[in-house]
C-alpha cells in the first residue's frame, strides 16, 4: 500500500528558487522568465526550472502564447511556479492569485472528481493527499492551499500539466465546455462529442485531412451567448497507433514522447503544421455527433434534440453547479443543429459519411 508518510511533508532542506540565479538550463536553481498565455481572456504565466516541461507546455499551447509579454505580470489572475529539485524534494507547483486559491477545489470539480479522491495525510500540516482512481487509488499528489507536490516520479509532468490546465478552466466563466472534437466546413461547426477512447482525435484528424477546419480534438468551448464554438487549437497528442492512420505524423515520432496521465507515451503534433492553414475560427454549431463506440460498419443515426442534449450532458466538462446553465445552453444549441449518434467503422468510411451528411443542404 502506498503511503504519504515519507513524502508529503515539506522538506527541511527546501530551498528558495530565484529567477535568473544559477546557470540557465543547467542549474536546478535557475527559474525561467515567465511564459505568458491567454485562454479566452484568462491570462496566466508559468515559470519553471524544468526546461523539458517548459518546452512541452510551450509547444502544447503555442497558439495561446502571448508574445511580447504583459506589462505587469503581477496583475495576472493566475501565476504558476513549477519547481523541481530532485536532490532535495519532489516537484512542486505553486499557484499565485490575487486572493485565496485552494487547489483541492480544482480537483473536486468536473470530471476530476471521478478520478481523484482527496484525503487528509497522516502527518497533517494542512496537506491533503490525492489518490488516483485510475492507478489503484495510489497517492499521486498532495495539496496545501495554493501549493501542490507531485509524488509520482514517472507521471508527475502529466499531473502538473493537468493541474495547471484545470486551474485555468476553474476561473474560465465565459464558456460551457464539452468533451468533444470540433471541426468546421464552410463556417459550420461540427461537434464530435465523446468520452475517453471514443476516437475523437483520430476522427478529428481524419476530417481535417478531408478538408474540414480544425478547432479542437478534445474540448469544445461554447459561448452561451452567441452559441458559437470557439477554436481550441492545443497541440494534439497522438499514440503510436494513430500514426498508422496518419503517416504524415511520422516525423513527430522522432521527437521525445510525453507521458499521458494513463502512463502511455504520446507525441505532440501541431495540426496546423501537419495540415497547413487548417485552423478554423469561431463558428455556429450546425451538426452534433455523439460518438457511441465502434462497429464493423459505420452507423450514423439521427437523434432527437432532447436525446442530443442528454447525450452532451454526459460529456460535459465542468462542475455540477453549472449543469442547469449548460443544459439551457445545449437546448439552445441543438435548435439549429442536426444531431446524430455514431458508431464508427473504418476511418475512411466514417469520414466519408460525415462529410456527406454535413454537406447535405
Amino acid at each position: 500500500m502506498d503511503s504519504l508518510a515519507s513524502t508529503a511533508a515539506p522538506s527541511p532542506h527546501a530551498r528558495e528558487f530565484c529567477v535568473g540565479k544559477g546557470e540557465p538550463e543547467t542549474s536546478p536553481l535557475y527559474l525561467s522568465e515567465p511564459t505568458l498565455y491567454d485562454f479566452f481572456g484568462v491570462r496566466f504565466s508559468l515559470r519553471s526550472n524544468e526546461p523539458s516541461l517548459n518546452k512541452t507546455l510551450s509547444f502544447l499551447y503555442r497558439h495561446f502564447m502571448v508574445r511580447g509579454g504583459f506589462s505587469e505580470e503581477t496583475k495576472l489572475p493566475l501565476r504558476f511556479t513549477l519547481m523541481t529539485d530532485s536532490e532535495y524534494r519532489e516537484p512542486s507547483l505553486r499557484v499565485d492569485t490575487d486572493g485565496a486559491f485552494d487547489l483541492a477545489d480544482v480537483l473536486r470539480r468536473g470530471s476530476n472528481k471521478f478520478r481523484f479522491r482527496i484525503r487528509a495525510t497522516p502527518e497533517g500540516g494542512g496537506w491533503n493527499g490525492v489518490q488516483d482512481a485510475f492507478l489503484s487509488h495510489r497517492f499521486v499528489m498532495a495539496f496545501r492551499g495554493n501549493e501542490c507536490r507531485f509524488h509520482d516520479p514517472v507521471r508527475w509532468r502529466a499531473y502538473a500539466e493537468s493541474v495547471i490546465f484545470h486551474c485555468v478552466l476553474s476561473i474560465l466563466r465565459e464558456h460551457s465546455i464539452l468533451h468533444a472534437g470540433v471541426v468546421a466546413k464552410q463556417g459550420n461547426g461540427v461537434v464530435l462529442g465523446g468520452g475517453t477512447n471514443r476516437g475523437k482525435t483520430t476522427l478529428t484528424l481524419g476530417l481535417v485531412r478531408n478538408g474540414f477546419s480544425f478547432l479542437s480534438d478534445d474540448l469544445a468551448f461554447i459561448d452561451p451567448r452567441s452559441k458559437f464554438v470557439a477554436p481550441f487549437p492545443r497541440a494534439v497528442s497522438v499514440h503510436e497507433k494513430t500514426v498508422a492512420f496518419f503517416p504524415e505524423c511520422r516525423a513527430a515520432l522522432q521527437t521525445h514522447p510525453t507521458m499521458s496521465l494513463s502512463g502511455d507515451d504520446k507525441w505532440l503534433v501541431d495540426v496546423n503544421e501537419l495540415i497547413p492553414n487548417s485552423l478554423g475560427s469561431a463558428c455556429p454549431v450546425r451538426t452534433i455527433i455523439l460518438l457511441e463506440g465502434f462497429a464493423e460498419r459505420t452507423e450514423l443515426k439521427p437523434l432527437s434534440r432532447s436525446e442530443a442534449v442528454i447525450g452532451c450532458l454526459n460529456f460535459a466538462h465542468g462542475s455540477a453547479e453549472n449543469a442547469v446553465e449548460l443544459m439551457l445552453t445545449l437546448s439552445d444549441l441543438v435548435r439549429d443543429a442536426r444531431c446524430y449518434s455514431l458508431r464508427s467503422g473504418v476511418l475512411p468510411e466514417v469520414v466519408d459519411m460525415i462529410t456527406q451528411t454535413v454537406m447535405e443542404p
Partner: protein, 92 residues
Amino acid sequence: MLDFDCCCPRRKEGIVLRKLGGEAILYDPGQKKAHVLNATALTIWELCSGEVSVRQIEERLKGDFEIDDPLELRSDIEETLVRFHTEGILVL
C-alpha cells in the same frame, strides 16, 4: 396503493423544464439527472400543479390528443405519474 382519483400530483420545486419541439427535457439539479418527455408526458407534467386531479388530467388529455382507448389512456397517465414519483420529481 395510491388512490389516483383523489390525488392532485404536484411537481417538485426546482425542476428545470426546457421545451424542444414536441419534446421536453426536465433537469433535476438536486439529483443532477435529466429526463426526456414526449408530448403527452409533457402535458401531464405541466398539469401537475398540485391543484389538478388525475381525473382532470385525463379529461384534459382526451381533449388535446386523439385517444383510441380511454382505458389505456388512464393506465398511461398513472404509469407516467408513478415514473415521475419514482424519479423523485413529483409528489403524489
